[in-house]
């Protein structure tokens, strides 16, 4: 590792931390935009003045917004997300298992989707403008137009109801053995894979095509290198960075898809937790979960950038 790479990576990480701080302000501000009294909104018009005063005290609404933000952020930095208004449970403990479940589901989808997208992207480049390429582009168009719940319910309708191969509801808890857990996530993971696959594949195709059309690939062909050597020595090192970038960007997209997919399959993860508490207007939970989703999203974007920096041969071998 030479110093320019380290410096760039450090810069990127620092920038990401600043961005994360700004996002936390934005999320906090996003829940304060409602004009009027939050306590009144929760308790309704018929609430007694004493009850209102109590709730305001309890929620810390008597403090100015910036002070509440500082308290909130300070708590999160110490692993304290506060308590849920609707149930009175500690948010951090509720999130723990759910985050694990969501990451497990997303990881299962990613393990299938990433290699599949790269292979299909390569095939599309190899047979460019041919039948296979057109078929793949057509499928990509279809799948970017399908809402997640269409894919999800079609899967449930056929695989769970008609043919009864997999369960229609993916309930898991801490005691679920690994194999059963795996069986439970087959359908949601398939739905997620189908949601991101097309996009990932299309972008992979574009990235590889971009490299294959450069002048140095043509030179390599003209000087008579074998096709395999061209790919190994010339195309591959230059294609890593864009492909890794594509993969990471789409993994970030996965975490959005996960929200809807979890609701479809009644999977006890972060997405369902978020949606439930948005409906209950439970602001502390929504803030905490929103911040975690944003943090994961930003982290994946930073990793994508760092991978691109590390994989760039020009930075690895400075003159």
């Amino acid at each position: 590792m030479s110093s320019p790479i380290l410096r760039l990576v450090a810069q990127r990480v620092l920038l990401g931390l600043v961005l994360l701080l700004a996002v936390s302000v934005l999320i906090f501000a996003g829940t304060q935009i409602l004009p009027g009294d939050v306590a009144q909104a929760i308790l309704g018009q018929s609430a007694t003045p004493e009850a209102l005063a109590n709730l305001r005290q309890q929620l810390g609404l008597n403090d100015p917004a910036w002070l509440r933000y500082v308290h909130w952020l300070w708590g999160i930095l110490h692993g304290d997300f506060g308590t849920a208004q609707s149930s009175g449970l500690d948010i951090a403990t509720s999130i723990g298992t759910r985050l694990k479940n969501t990451l497990f589901l997303a990881a299962c989808a990613a393990i299938v989707a990433v290699p599949l997208a790269i292979i299909l992207g390569l095939i599309a480049v190899r047979y460019r403008n041919g039948f296979v390429d057109k078929l793949i582009s057509g499928l990509a168009l279809a799948s970017t137009s399908f809402p997640e719940f269409f894919i999800g319910y079609v899967l449930i309708y056929f695989f769970a109801v008609k043919w009864q191969i997999f369960p229609s509801i993916s309930t898991v808890d801490d005691s679920t053995p690994f194999l059963e857990r795996l069986q439970a996530v087959v359908l949601p993971a398939t739905a997620l894979t189908l949601v991101v696959l097309a996009h990932m594949m299309r972008m992979t195709r574009a990235a590889i095509l971009n490299v294959m059309q450069s002048a140095y690939i043509e030179t390599a062909e003209l000087k008579g290198l074998k096709a395999f050597d061209i790919i190994r020595k010339h195309a591959f090192p230059n294609a890593i960075a864009p492909v890794v970038n594509v993969v990471m960007l789409n993994l970030a997209y996965l975490i959005v898809g996960v929200v809807v997919v979890e609701v479809i399959f009644v999977y006890p993860g972060m997405g369902q937790y978020l949606v439930d508490h948005v409906a209950k207007r439970d602001v502390p939970v929504v803030q905490a979960v929103g911040l975690i989703f944003a943090a994961v999203y930003i982290t994946l974007n930073i990793v994508a950038d760092i991978a691109a920096i590390v994989a760039n041969p020009r930075l690895r071998h400075p003159k």
């Binding site: 996003g30 939050v38 319910y153």
Partner: protein, 273 residues
């Protein structure tokens, strides 16, 4: 332009989009039954009386679909219109004025875009009342970030061209530069983007309604109808698949039209190449 120059896929897209738009506009005259009218048993199968069967409360599904088309498209069109006017005006202004205004606005848009739209939408909707107006505002404002980026990028290119330079030397005001010099030249890439943003609005609205946070009952858009009928799926009743498929078909047909427009305009100046 001769009609035969329009490719087959674009025809399919145009006809289907036109069909959906027709249903949406003339919903009260096209629909055989009223929107909330209970006409039969719960989840009746498809029959001559009820072409698509009935829904979870015994309402005629095809009538619900037609009214749903109206609600879905109304909100999506309004949100897209808002996102375009807001995004393009701010984008052009940022490009023309430059300086701290441009920097401030662009960094703020970067910040908004660093959170997934659905997640931030959910965060905001957790405190806002769920009315049609808030839905349109939230969807329009969040989506305008993407229009802002595109129109700013296009406008920055146009802003340095000779005819803009000439207009500035002539002493024209900023408003003239934005609306008379930049806007006409930036239209074609923006129009191509219009279809994509509309699809995004339809999908976003459907996702919100499916999650129960969009259009509230008794009215419902297609996403809400999926939610209403989803419990039937495990009993083998495919009623929920029909509105879901309608969303998919609408999105594909608009996509086909947008692709065609994009191909036609990329050769023009200001296209994204």
């Amino acid at each position: 332009m001769a009609l035969r120059q329009i490719p087959f896929t674009a025809w399919v897209g145009l006809i289907l989009t036109g069909f959906f738009a027709f249903c949406a506009i003339f919903a009260p005259w096209v629909a055989p039954h009223g929107n909330g009218e209970i006409v039969g048993d719960v989840w009746e199968p498809m029959s001559v009386a009820h072409w698509l069967g009935t829904d979870n409360l015994g309402r005629d599904l095809i009538s619900r679909m037609i009214y749903g088309a109206r609600i879905t498209m109304e909100i999506a069109v309004a949100a897209t219109a808002l996102s375009f006017s807001l995004g393009s005006i701010l984008g052009f202004t940022a490009a023309v004025f430059g300086g701290w205004f441009d920097t401030l606005l662009s960094r703020f848009v970067d910040l908004l875009m660093s959170i997934p739209t659905l997640i931030f939408g959910l965060v905001v909707l957790s405190v806002l009342p769920t009315t049609t107006l808030t839905l349109i505002l939230v969807m329009g404002i969040l989506d305008s970030t993407r229009v802002y980026r595109l129109s700013r990028a296009v406008a920055v290119d146009i802003n340095v061209m000779d005819f803009v330079e000439a207009a500035k030397l002539r002493g024209e005001g900023k408003a003239w530069i934005i609306f008379r010099e930049i806007l006409p030249n930036a239209l074609s890439p923006l129009v191509a983007e219009l279809g994509v943003r509309f699809i995004f609005a339809v999908l976003f609205l459907s996702a919100l309604s499916f999650l129960g946070l969009g259009v509230q009952p008794p009215d419902s858009d297609w996403g809400g109808m999926v939610k209403e009928n989803k419990d039937g799926i495990v009993f083998g009743i495919p009623a929920a698949l029909i509105p879901a498929a309608a969303i998919a078909v609408l999105a594909i047909s608009v996509n086909l039209v947008a692709d065609w427009v994009l191909n036609r305009t990329t050769s023009l100046k200001g296209g994204r190449g």
